[in-house]
């Protein structure tokens, strides 16, 4: 479709005047093709989750109807508690990612020469290029009772007994989230720091402002939209990636993604759709609040 369209756009065939205007119109539509594709196959299915969540559940599928049963099923059961719990741990993971990752973005922007900055940031793409499942699965032998962390600590004589709280617990899930999503706060922090010119540091030094005040009063407000976008990304994925609690979590470590996949395995499709709709509502609410407070379009300035 694209190839055919662009051939016409290119006007490889010499066309008469009226034909040219038709091909121009076609060309304009060819440029909208990706957006139409995303509307039909992404936006529409996401919006339809609300409709499907109201359908009646049948034995193996669903049938059109109107019932709030799925929402009842979600809000008046352990699922809600699990969902709120996973929100708490996801927020903790966001905070840890920010503390560990954002200083790296500041450091690279401030102290690495301009030409080398992108190359240093590329280092953080390297782990990201290895399948997330493999990285998460690989955490098992690392965090296990007789895994890398415990044996190293024991060999160094720091602990006598292996730490068992590292795996199959909420701690395990948070560790997995931090290791999976840390690169994203570095990327978004790096983009966000575009809004903080380098001379800011010199100005602060000249005015005798300490590092803490410089960070809180100058860097943070300027970089806020980018930091917020990165944090929302990590928060929502912490809620939605079923793999993390599935592989690293123990009893009670259930997030929205896991509820949805479990519902699909149990052939309760309306419930899965209700969970998706709730997740989308959470995401939209967060982005809306962020937009009102920080004006998220500011992130795009370096791109346009």
């Amino acid at each position: 479709m694209t190839a055919a369209a662009s051939e016409t756009v290119g006007g490889t065939r010499p066309a008469a005047r009226p034909r040219a205007s038709a091909s121009e119109a076609l060309g304009r539509w060819a440029f909208r093709l990706p957006l139409i594709f995303m509307l039909v196959f992404f936006a529409l299915p996401m919006a339809m989750t609300v409709v499907f969540s109201l359908f009646e559940r049948t034995m193996f599928w669903m049938e059109p109807g109107f019932t709030l049963f799925s929402y009842e099923n979600f809000f008046f059961s352990a699922r809600l508690t699990n969902f709120l719990e996973s929100m708490k741990y996801s927020a903790i993971a966001v905070a840890i990612c920010f503390v560990l990752g954002f200083p790296i973005a500041v450091f690279v922007r401030r102290s690495v020469p301009q030409v080398a900055q992108h190359r240093v940031i590329l280092l953080f793409i390297l782990p990201f290029m290895v399948s997330e499942i493999i990285r998460v699965f690989a955490l098992r032998p690392v965090l296990q009772r007789n895994g890398l962390v415990n044996t190293t600590l024991q060999n160094l004589g720091i602990i006598d007994e292996p730490i068992t709280a590292l795996l199959y617990t909420h701690t395990g899930v948070v560790i997995g989230e931090v290791l999976s999503f840390l690169p994203f706060i570095v990327f978004s922090g790096f983009l966000a720091m575009e809004a903080v010119p380098k001379y800011i540091f010199e100005v602060c030094d000249d005015l005798g402002v300490g590092p803490w005040r410089r960070f809180v009063d100058v860097i943070l407000p300027l970089a806020a939209p980018g930091i917020f976008a990165g944090s929302v990304f990590i928060f929502v994925n912490g809620l939605g990636v079923a793999l993390l609690p599935n592989i690293l979590g123990g009893a009670g470590a259930v997030n929205a993604g896991l509820i949805a996949t479990q519902a699909i395995t149990a052939l309760d499709f309306p419930l899965a759709m209700a969970v998706s709709a709730i997740m989308m509502a959470t995401l939209m609410a967060l982005l809306w609040i962020g937009h009102r407070v920080f004006d998220l379009t500011r992130i795009l300035t370096p791109l346009s």
Binding site: T2, S6, V9, G10, G11, F31, R32, L33, P34, L35, F37, M38, F41, F42, M48, T49, L100, I104, V108, S111, V120, L122, L123, L126, P127, M129, V130, S131, E132, I133, I134, R135, F137, A138, L139, R140, P141, N146, L148, L179, L182, V232, F233, V236, G240, A242, A256, G257, L258, A260, T261, V275, S276, M279, M280, L283, L287, T297, L300, L303
Partner: protein, 294 residues
Amino acid sequence: MDDYANPWLHRLKWAYLLLVVLTLMAPVLYVMWISFNANGFGANAYDFTWKWYGLILSDAQLIGALRWTLALALVVTAITVPMALVAAKHYKATRNKLFPVFLLLAPLFVPPDILGSALLVSFKNANLAFVWLGDRLGTEAFDAWFRLSFLTAVIGLVIYTMPYAFVVILITMGRYRAEQTEAARACGANGWRAFRDIEFPQIRPGVLSACAFTVILVFNEYTRTSLLKGGFDTFTTVLISQMLNTGMSGQSYAMSAMVSFVAIAVIGTIILVTLIRSEALAREARAKAEPVMS
């Protein structure tokens, strides 16, 4: 206050940065280490072996899965990258930027399981609707349109990879100066010619990185593929079902390690090639600039 005033502080920060990268990579490196141990994970003795890798290559199911994964990666790349390119051109030209950028970047923020299940249910319902329509019209032509198949997996993966390809291409386009297109048009080239001969050569590195990105993302993707695929297996779905059924065996370590090796080799090559090319281009530019400056 200045980093350079205190070289040790500067070095300490570098050390921290590298430590974080190393920590992120640690699980993968550890898996690679285990994959060469004849005794598997947790053994006291370490005997170097290629045994596990030999087992993978003689596994017919796995080779079949690899073939499907490769086909998926190629088809998705062939769709995503041109679409991302067109979308980036559109984004540059359009005045209302908020809507396209929201639509193109939103998939980043939708977690895999949520996107996968929403698409799964939508496809199934679309399929039912089309089958019903076909029955009314007395045709079976639409029956296979949205049945779970290679096509549905491709659609899901195109949505997943689009934001990455779009951003990578958009960033390279940022360095292109639109006056060059205007000059080409003024010289009589049509839009397509100006794009092909003037703009594309300059954004080619971005397009190539977008291709590499897309291939690797498709190769690594598990959740969306496993929810949306038809009756075939990909590399990751085989890996996960083996891990869940029989636990981590020496073979699964070797499989994980092998994918990691390939991905790192591909990215490493791309980074090296772009670095070498950009050095060469910079040298060339300096050489050209010299007589003017003197």
